[in-house]
Subunit: 191 residues, 2 copies
């Protein structure tokens, strides 16, 4: 997605060899017009799938997932990173490790919010090692729901997330695929 690659190049900040900070348009300040287009692009990429629901994980995934939900006209469920006092009753739960924050979190979705009839498109802002996506897949498996595919805004193709998910037989579509970060430059794969 050219508009997105342009935003990453021009408005992202490179930190070391593995991190590009996109706080200026994706996951702190959010460019609403760009996110709208991201939602539309996910719709185009997965229009062959019978998507009934979109699932993501707080907080970075909420905006692109919501815009995809708007494009598909389906509800969006975001997994929570800790059990709150108002989240009573039964939940599906999975432990997920964040390399960025260096913490384990319990990721939960209420059992009420998923059914075996659901065809779920997973959306997330980043794919690196695939920890979050694998956690969500485990939760969807617990619910007996079908994983329709995984849509990612920015993939770090030099990390193992994509191959790990493809080994599970799941279709992965990333709107921007970063081949390499280094010497102040970002190189993209043509997806």
């Amino acid at each position: 997605m050219e508009l997105l690659q342009k935003a990453i190049q021009e408005r992202g900040t490179i930190i070391g060899d593995t991190i590009v900070k996109v706080d200026s348009f994706l996951n702190h300040e959010m460019d609403t017009a760009l996110l709208y287009e991201i939602g539309q692009e996910f719709r185009r990429q997965f229009q062959h799938k019978p998507v009934t629901k979109i699932v993501t994980i707080e907080a970075g995934g909420i905006a692109p997932a919501l815009m995809a939900g708007l494009a598909f006209n389906v509800p969006v469920v975001y997994a929570k990173k800790q059990k709150s006092l108002t989240m009573k009753g039964d939940v599906y739960i999975e432990s997920v490790y964040s390399f960025t924050k260096q913490v384990h979190s319990n990721v939960t979705i209420s059992k009420d919010r998923l059914s075996p009839e659901d065809h779920v498109l997973i959306i997330d802002d980043f794919l690196a090692n695939g920890e979050a996506a694998a956690g969500l897949i485990s939760i969807l498996n617990q619910a007996g729901a079908t994983v329709a595919g995984i849509g990612i805004v920015i993939e770090k193709s030099f990390q193992r997330g994509r191959s790990r998910l493809e080994e599970l037989g799941i279709e992965v579509v990333s709107l921007a695929r970063i081949a390499r970060i280094g010497e102040g430059k970002i190189e993209f794969l043509n997806s």
Copy 2:
């Protein structure tokens, strides 16, 4: 907003005398069509103000804020509840207490993301005691930005949030105002 009151009545779950759980359409599963209308309604309510940016707080505020940002065609910034490793550099910070989760959080916004030229509409999912909103106002004051107003999806009018914010001279618009929760019923104020 009638559509929203209807959703709260029909799809909300009452817990005790103070909590209505809206996990089925607002802050776990999200009804994208309803949230789109919520964004449009915030635009109508605040169209007299020169809004340049929308500010909210993760995670519950992100969806209504993003839809308001889409309606106003302005960027949205969400305050983070803890400082992550990729959030380097200077941040504005304020401590906020959550009665629901019974924890204090440090709420932060990067200094890069706000300027004294900004006219900021604060959006949040709930207004109860006004802790989160007061924290965001403090951050906007630190940045020298103008608070254009506060837009709330669901106000618990039996708690002190609104009066606390109005005492600061700030316009508060809530799309649903709950007068009373009890005996399995929700009563609304006509706003």
